[in-house]
């Protein structure tokens, strides 16, 4: 009798356990929760051309001295376009330094894109081959890094910077880093 009951409940129990693990496992959106290996680490050393000024080389030291938002973008990335207005807003209402990394893109298309939709960046790095992307552990666009004045990565976002991310994730960190605001009614 005991054997019969066991042989009934063991498969059923196993099935329920697998079902439960599957339910939990598949409802975790773990890609977005990937911790960046670079979090709390210094931004890597690099030297790359500027997208807009062929004469200009941009290096790590150009990102130091004040808090900096580094945004990895490309014209082939639709999400980059959808977050563009938010980046323009951030550039307009804060004193943060905005740096774009044009990731694996066509230079002319990228330049046209910025001319058409506006340029929120103080500096735009050209990363046609994605080499700086590899140094940053980038696996798609857009990705956004927040750096403190010493060039340490204090926050990373994979995916778009939308109003919710701005309000809940970025703004509190901007305050922590004491980024100056341009106007007072920015937190809406």
């Amino acid at each position: 009798m005991i054997v019969n009951r066991m042989s009934f409940f063991i498969p059923l129990g196993t099935f329920l356990v697998i079902l439960g693990i599957g339910y939990v496992g598949f409802s975790l959106d773990d890609r977005k929760q990937l911790p960046s290996a670079l979090l709390d680490k210094p931004f890597p050393e690099f030297s790359a051309n500027s997208l807009l000024d062929p004469e200009l080389r941009i290096r790590r030291q150009d990102l130091l001295g004040k808090p900096t938002l580094v945004n990895v973008w490309a014209t082939w990335c639709p999400t980059c376009l959808s977050e563009h207005d938010q980046l323009m807003d951030i550039a307009g209402m804060t004193e943060i330094r905005m740096v774009g990394i044009n990731y694996k893109d066509d230079v002319e298309k990228a330049q046209r894109w910025l001319a058409q939709y506006g340029n929120p960046f103080d500096l735009v790095i050209r990363d046609e081959r994605g080499l700086l992307g590899v140094e940053l552990g980038v696996y798609g666009a857009p990705e956004t890094f927040l750096l403190d004045a010493q060039g340490n990565i204090v926050y990373k976002r994979v995916g778009d910077v939308n109003p919710r991310i701005w309000r809940d994730e970025l703004l509190p960190r901007f305050r922590l880093l004491e980024v100056e605001m341009v106007s007072r009614d920015e937190a809406s």
């Binding site: 005991i2 990937l34 290996a37 670079l38 590899v134 696996y139």
Partner: protein
């Protein structure tokens, strides 16, 4: 016509299908790379180096695609990382564990299909062992109770059984 009839009429068909299945499973039918969805044109200094390259790209997980290795992914980032592994291996002459450390430093434990044992990863190492132990315990328990119930035949049942066996 039922499946059995078809197979009964052409036993050779069934056998070749089974053989084909085995070959496909072993990756014999398709050239290496094609089965994995990609072929990069890369040059190596030695067969040994190419073997190391293949071993490495099959052990790194594509960061974009969650459950494919670098060798098996068509994602652009996987191609970039394959080329990176190739560059580190052939041009920079790094050792396997140096290449692993390089990728781990940038993409985290996530890219490793064999992540280190740490406070974050202990369960993926221990849970299978635990499940294995539970399975062994369950099987042993079942065997034991099965043996006990078979030996616990009452004398009357035993006599009836013997009678039935004799009658046959």
């Amino acid at each position: 016509m039922s499946i059995q009839q078809v197979l009964g009429r052409w036993p050779g068909l069934f056998r070749s299908l089974a053989l084909l299945l085995c070959l496909v499973c072993q990756g014999v039918v398709l050239p290496e790379g094609a089965a994995e969805g990609q072929i990069d044109i890369l040059s190596f200094e030695s067969v040994e180096q190419e073997r190391r390259y293949r071993a490495l790209i099959s052990e790194f997980r594509c960061p974009k695609c969650l459950n494919t290795n670098l060798a098996g992914s068509d994602a652009p980032i996987a191609k970039d990382l394959r080329l990176l592994v190739h560059r580190l291996l052939v041009e920079e002459g790094l050792a396997d564990d140096e290449i692993t450390a390089y990728l781990q430093a940038r993409y985290g434990d996530f890219v490793l299909y064999r992540p280190p044992f740490s406070s974050q990863t202990w369960y993926i190492w221990l849970v299978p062992i635990g499940l294995g132990l539970i399975a062994v315990a369950v099987v042993m328990g079942l065997l034991k109770s099965a043996r006990r119930s078979s030996t616990q035949l009452s004398p009357e049942d035993r006599a009836r059984l013997d009678a039935m066996i004799r009658e046959r």
